[in-house]
Amino acid sequence: MNTKTQGALVAMAGAVVVRLAVSGQYLDYLKTTMRLPLAAAGVVLIVLGSATLLRAVFDTGGPEHADATDHGDHGDHHRGPPIAWLLVLPLLAVVLVAPPPLGADAARRDTAASLPPPRSSFPALPPPRDGAVNLPLNAFLSRAYYDHSDSLAGVTLRLTGFVVSDPALPDGYHLTRFQMVCCAADAIPIKITVRGLDAPAPADDTWVEVTGRWAPPADPNAIGVNRGAIVDATSHTEIPPPANPYE
């Protein structure tokens, strides 16, 4: 890889990264707090790449000349490492494939029983808006498993997630959302069961807003995951995917 190509590749990578940060597409892969570091890294890449490119183009007297025209053999350090060509792969992946945020396929793959950490006390639920309490799925799951004061009982809830269908649920589906710490590689699916719908489940990965009530465990002495996380739905509406698909 000659000096010109090195500069162009790094500057291009910077441009792609800045675009991801500015457009908000980075939210499909990363946490919101990564926006600034990502943009800053992109700007550094653009400056570094442009400086290298300009140097290679205008400095035609020195050893760079030989590099730029690919004839010289001035030692390894002017010629970039061949491994650097691999940097093209993530760029192509972002530009050509533009992979969607993690969805039903990844949720089905992740079958380990990863649970929210046990808690013993919960704050009061937020006040209802338009007749229902908005609750993130992880908050719902945590209360369903561990809140023995049954704070969810009788409350009309509004939950948002995407559909993961399950043949074992003829009148419902798994309402799912990934919880992320840093990036999609560490994301864990939070799945709750929605039932009681008379229409067939929407297609996998369809985003829905479900209104309904928590179904208390059949066995009142059950603890933790055995209490289940089930919602008896009264309605559900398809919605456009949210800007930040993760919790």
Partner: protein, 306 residues
């Protein structure tokens, strides 16, 4: 250019691959790991470029204690001051060795910096609320791992194994030019190997079924080994791993601690980066030694503290 041509020719076939859900999951994870590591890698290579531009070669060695046995823990303590991910500390350690620092303390710094810095410890405290001893255990076990591996290297390691780092380009010219040339070289180099790591980690995440974990959770020492291997396979950032560990509720505290001590020291992405920076012969010796020391350290610290 070749890749673009190939993409154009194979487009009809690729389109059906691109739409396959498993391919999309794989690509999402690959892109996520690459993007997530990028800011830390850029920070690491910029620091590496600054070291090359500002610190004259040979002077780094003089900043450390003369006694090599003491220089190792000193380098570990220096690691506390650099908040960053593991991807950033590899090029910095490589640059330190290129600048004439002895290998053992540089490697201790490499292991300590991503594991014991304040950002990682605060993240651990948040992920394990009400369990301050867990944070203390992580700090001690990681620092002990870094120092012990440094000492093992001092005793058994051979300097020719890090020759690749020593041979690294030393650019002459103005300070700005040294900075520019060093930074872009280290960035392209480490970046390429980071992609190797991200490809491997994404593939393993998609191919290895997580249900395996549930089966070994109660299996004592096997569970500890299982989470240590999971840390190697997942290759997640040291600032995020505590939250993942906290969600593995079916595992013992010792197993979770092993996950947190192994992760920032050995994972597929790091081994690729280390192989690129120091050479393959180095990585094939360093990774297993570090892995074993990390598990032993986590097990002992957990037995004493948790």
């Amino acid at each position: 250019m070749v890749a673009v041509l190939l993409a154009a020719v194979l487009r009809p076939r690729l389109a059906s691959w691109f739409d396959a859900p498993s391919f999309q999951t794989w690509t999402t994870i690959f892109v996520s790991i690459s993007l997530q590591a990028l800011p830390f890698l850029v920070l690491g290579t910029v620091v590496s470029g600054l070291i090359a531009a500002v610190v004259p070669p040979g002077e780094i060695a003089q900043m450390l204690p003369r006694n090599r046995v003491l220089a190792v823990p000193a380098a570990g303590v220096v690691g506390i001051g650099l908040p960053g991910c593991e991807c950033g500390s590899v090029p910095i350690a490589g640059r330190l060795i290129a600048g004439g620092a002895p290998a053992a303390p540089a490697l201790t710094f490499l292991l300590a910096a991503p594991a014991v810095n304040p950002v990682v410890l605060i993240a651990t405290a948040v992920a394990f609320p009400g369990q301050p001893w867990f944070v203390v255990a992580r700090f001690i076990a990681s620092l002990v791992t870094a120092v012990v591996v440094g000492w093992v290297w001092l005793r058994l390691g051979r300097d020719d194994l890090v020759e690749r780092a020593r041979r690294r380009s030393v650019v002459s010219g103005s300070r700005v030019e040294v900075f520019r040339a060093t930074t872009i070289h280290d960035l392209l180099h480490a970046g390429g190997y980071l992609v190797v790591g991200a490809l491997t980690a994404a593939t393993l995440q998609v191919v290895v079924p997580t249900s395996v974990l549930d089966r070994v959770a109660d299996a004592g020492p096997v569970a500890v080994l299982a989470l240590a291997v999971l840390a190697v396979v997942l290759a997640i950032c040291s600032e995020a791993d505590a939250f993942v560990a906290a969600s593995l509720t079916q595992f013992s505290a010792t197993a979770k601690l092993a996950f947190l001590v192994v992760g920032p020291a050995v994972d597929v992405k790091l081994v690729a980066l280390q192989a690129g920076t120091f050479g393959r012969a180095f990585a094939t010796r360093f990774a297993p030694v570090t892995f074993a020391v990390a598990i032993a350290s986590a097990t002992i610290v957990s037995a004493v503290l948790l």
